[in-house]
């Protein structure tokens, strides 16, 4: 009897653990609904940029590395959406993980990227956002609240445009 009672409890507990933890990789990265943590990083030109500089605009924050296949795969679509929407209250900010300015600059040239690219050389910003896979994309509204987190990619132009619906002018 005891055994019978215990099993469902264990199963339920495990189910909760699995739901909470098994799903964690797809839900981390700045909690949806919470204020996006501010950070200060230097851009490819060496100038410091704070996330809060973009308050009032919708920010698409993309954590990437040049060695990451799915990151590379989504770059053309990210650039396309940036091109279409950066005059409409949106900015795309790409945060590179632990690579040199030279590596990242040549990657930006290769893909013709015109959005700001910041260097997270000690990976502190990725940790701040709980990034658990590359790429991870965080959508932040004009008030600085995280509205969406996409773990993995490649994000398509259509999917990103859909996520930004109602958030851009």
């Amino acid at each position: 009897m005891r055994q019978r009672l215990r099993s469902p409890v264990i199963v339920l507990a495990l189910a909760l653990v699995l739901l909470a933890e098994g799903c964690a990789p797809s839900s981390v990265g700045g909690q949806k609904g919470s204020v996006a943590p501010d950070f200060s990083l230097s851009g490819l030109d060496g100038a410091a940029v704070n996330l809060s500089d973009y308050r009032g605009r919708t920010v698409v924050l993309n954590f990437f590395a040049t060695w990451c296949g799915p990151c590379r795969a989504e770059m053309p679509d990210l650039q396309a959406v940036y091109g279409e929407l950066h005059d409409h209250g949106m900015v795309l900010v790409a945060v590179n993980q632990g690579e040199t300015r030279e590596q990242v600059s040549s990657f930006a040239r290769e893909f013709g990227l015109t959005f700001p690219i910041l260097l997270d050389q000690d990976e502190a910003t990725a940790r701040l956002y709980g990034v658990r896979a590359f790429p991870t994309t965080v959508i932040i509204d004009g008030r600085g609240v995280v509205r969406d987190v996409v773990v993995g990619g490649p994000l398509t132009r259509t999917a990103l445009r859909r996520m930004l619906e109602g958030m851009v002018k």
Binding site: V17, P25, S26, V149, P154
Partner: protein
């Protein structure tokens, strides 16, 4: 009795894990799923994109080849860091955690101690880890693997051939394959130690 209870719980948990991934995690995955279809959350649409024709010799029960849950994992041939050529299919008969990683990927590095621990714990129970390094040079990978005590097979994918098939969405990506080489779980992103252990245990227990 206890063993039976454990087995039953194990299979229920395995089922739940799949449900957790397929249902619970689907909304977060789906936003970016437009271009790729081989991951668990998009399995229903992934079949045609990733399956290869079933060989005429296949038994009627053999699932189609692909990287979605329930499909036969595509075979590949790569070299270990010791220079030995291996095929994924050689590991049939064992539960396999197939991990795609790189030394310069912080979330990948973060989950290695958990992988090492799971390997130590389950290697005697028909379980192995196959860690496929994505496009790095042999020396870098060899010294990293030694430092981290990665005693399981560490394979080199120098031109990303296996990676391009298995890593559609993000790095790291892990697949859990059952003893028949069928995909039972796909996880994109670094896994905490206890998640690894639970996933492995559920499959090791349910398929003995």
């Amino acid at each position: 009795m206890a063993a039976k209870v454990r087995r039953v719980i194990g299979s229920v948990v395995a089922g739940l894990a799949v449900v957790a991934l397929a249902a619970g995690c689907a909304p977060a995955f789906s936003a970016g799923a437009g271009a790729i279809s081989q991951v668990a959350a998009t399995a229903p649409n992934g079949t045609s994109a990733t399956s290869a024709p079933v060989s005429p010799k296949a038994t009627p029960t053999q699932p189609p080849v692909g990287t979605s849950i329930g499909m036969q994992a595509p075979d590949f041939t790569l070299s270990t860091i010791q220079g030995q050529t291996v095929h994924l299919s050689e590991y049939r008969g064992q539960v396999v955690l197939l991990n795609f990683w790189a030394t310069w990927c912080p979330p990948c590095r973060a989950e290695i101690p958990g992988l090492v621990k799971a390997y130590q714990q389950y290697k005697g129970k028909g379980f192995t880890i196959v860690a496929v390094n994505l496009m790095e040079d042999k020396d870098t990978v060899t010294s990293f693997a030694a430092q981290q005590h990665m005693d399981f097979p560490v394979l080199l994918d120098p031109d990303g051939a296996a990676g391009s098939v298995f890593v559609g969405r993000g790095i790291p990506t892990s697949y859990l394959l059952d003893r028949n080489g069928v995909v039972r779980q796909v996880v994109v992103g670094s896994m905490p130690e206890d998640t690894i252990s639970q996933l492995v245990q559920s499959l090791v227990d349910s398929s003995t």
